[in-house]
Amino acid sequence: MSAVRFQAIAKSFGPVQALLPVDLEIAQGEFLTLLGPSGSGKTTLLNICAGYLEPTSGHLFVGERDITGLPPRHRNMGMVFQNYALFPHMSVAENIAYGLQVRRFASEDIRRRVAGALQMVRLDGLGDRAIRQLSGGQQQRVALARALVIEPDILLMDEPLGALDRQLRKEVQLEIRRLHVSQRRTTIYVTHDQEEALVMSDRIAVMRAGRIVQLGSAVDLYERPVDTFVAKFIGESNLLAGIVVSLADGRACLTVSGIDQPLAGTAAPGVFAGSPAAALLRPEAIYNRAGGLKAKVLERVYLGEIVAVRLSLAGGHELWSRRLAGEFSASDIVEIGWDANVVSILPNASDEPQLGGTNAE
């Protein structure tokens, strides 16, 4: 039985369709990330789950129970907001205790649970601090503790790391992951950062223009993106646009202007012979091959453990490679190749009307 089930949940704001009917099931103990650019509907979906927004149509189930119209206070969900939304007039401990006091726990019990929660997020001894005395990372942990201490059925997080610097973000990502692994609490996490999604999630729902474009594990999304949008959104990608010339047994060939040889690759569903498509080549799949395709080096970027090289192909196409060996500098000509089985031929992401666009009648 799923922990949470969205059944044809849709939301409009006036004439603007923020969310097209969405069906989504989240398993007990699963960490599901809603990943997408701003305006894709991911926060809308999260707010519907929390009860802060009412869906225009559809139903929301927790277990077997339909909670579509239930106010937030009866849902027993823990929410971590983007800028934490900690109560500025309360201390750290008072913030964490808030949900327990509302639930009329005994004061001794509250003290014990708050202390436990502080320990869980490694803020022992900071209970008496005022919120404004804490760093961003510490505030983030208080928000997490406040949401978790009520033992919510579902933990909801709305871009909780958005305000942190890069180093801290990585630390807190791993901490959230660690807490999830130890508690196995059903979690819905919203972010536009693909790295966060890849590090923490069991499954990722990639959203665009109010709908879920693809739902799957990190590996699914990275290795088998359904279209060019997902390919661009997950990981680094090179996309070469062309026309499909042949399609058979799940393999397709794509002609790309300026490149003599058609590119062969695994065809994704939605690729048809004669239609435009794009070949996905991950930067780590491109290496030196004598006698291969000729490419001009445009720039070389040192990234520490690897060197990324931007290449220009005949026909004006540009590629990034992360596996080119040797010393070279800008304008050198290199010969490159890749293994045929790492190429995917993807349909172009459909140009649906963007949100708030033409469907305003």
Partner: protein, 258 residues
């Protein structure tokens, strides 16, 4: 350097222009003579004794305080509720409602006085404390609505969502989150309300009767008859009380602000 000295001197002059005439009334209250002269030639507490020994002065002081406190209570409660309601409306309705609530501030007081006098006559409320409190509340309410409105506009709505998400019902959200966070605005508005009522004289002259005469009205009546230092004493008493209200509110607001 010279520029700075000149600037400071100018600032001092402006401050003196604003404050001195008000402060000047205080020495007048300590005169031993029967008329106000600055500075007094001889000093005494004679007029303070007169003021506090005279039941009619004492009564007006007490009814002034009563009216001001009732006005503060009514306008703080109603004004806060109004500001909360206005904040929930759409931007256009907000503009209209704010305009209506600020009306009494921009309406000439004498116009309000005439209108209210007519109303009070027809309802038989002339000379009652009810009429005074109602009239003063009209004048004081806008300040509460404004102050609380400013506090509310700085209130992060997500704090209310967070509290609701943690299980709090709307009443509890209001008590534990909204009210503490807008308290500085409520207190600031209340002080304005108190002071507005405490020194209101135009409406009070029209509406006050022998049963409910406020201190400013008594001062007004007194100086039309004779200009003795007891008026300066009454003015000093008002000054001190108003200052106390202002200072007290600053302390309270500082203690409450997060």
């Amino acid at each position: 350097m010279i520029g700075r000295i000149a600037l400071n001197a100018f600032v001092a002059l402006v401050a003196a222009f604003l404050v001195l005439p008000i402060v000047a009334v205080v020495p007048g209250a300590f005169s031993a003579q029967s008329f106000i002269r600055l500075p007094p030639e001889t000093w005494s507490l004679r007029w303070w004794n007169t003021f506090f020994a005279d039941p009619s002065w004492r009564r007006t002081l007490i009814s002034s305080l009563q009216v001001a406190m009732l006005t503060t209570f009514v306008s703080a409660t109603a004004g806060t509720a109004a500001a909360l309601g206005i904040a929930r409306c759409g931007p256009r309705v907000q503009t209209v409602l704010t305009g209506i609530f600020l009306g009494p501030i921009v309406t000439p007081v004498i116009v309000m006085a005439v209108a209210l006098y007519a109303m009070a006559l027809s309802t038989g409320l002339v000379g009652t404390m009810t009429a005074l409190v109602a009239a003063h509340t009209m004048m004081a309410l806008p300040y509460v609505v404004l102050n609380v409105g400013v506090s509310l506009s700085g209130l992060d709505r997500r704090l209310l969502l967070a509290a609701a998400g943690l299980g709090a019902d709307p009443v509890r959200v209001f008590q534990t989150v909204t009210l503490p966070l807008i308290a500085p605005g409520v207190i600031g508005g209340s002080v304005f309300a108190f002071v507005t009522s405490f020194d209101e004289v135009v409406l009070s002259i029209f509406l006050a009767g022998p049963a409910a005469k406020t201190l400013p009205v008594r001062i007004w009546e007194e100086i039309r008859v004779e200009y003795t230092p007891v008026v300066a004493v009454a003015a000093s008493v008002m000054l001190v009380l108003a200052l106390m209200a202002a200072i007290g509110s600053r302390f309270a607001a500082r203690k409450l602000s997060p």
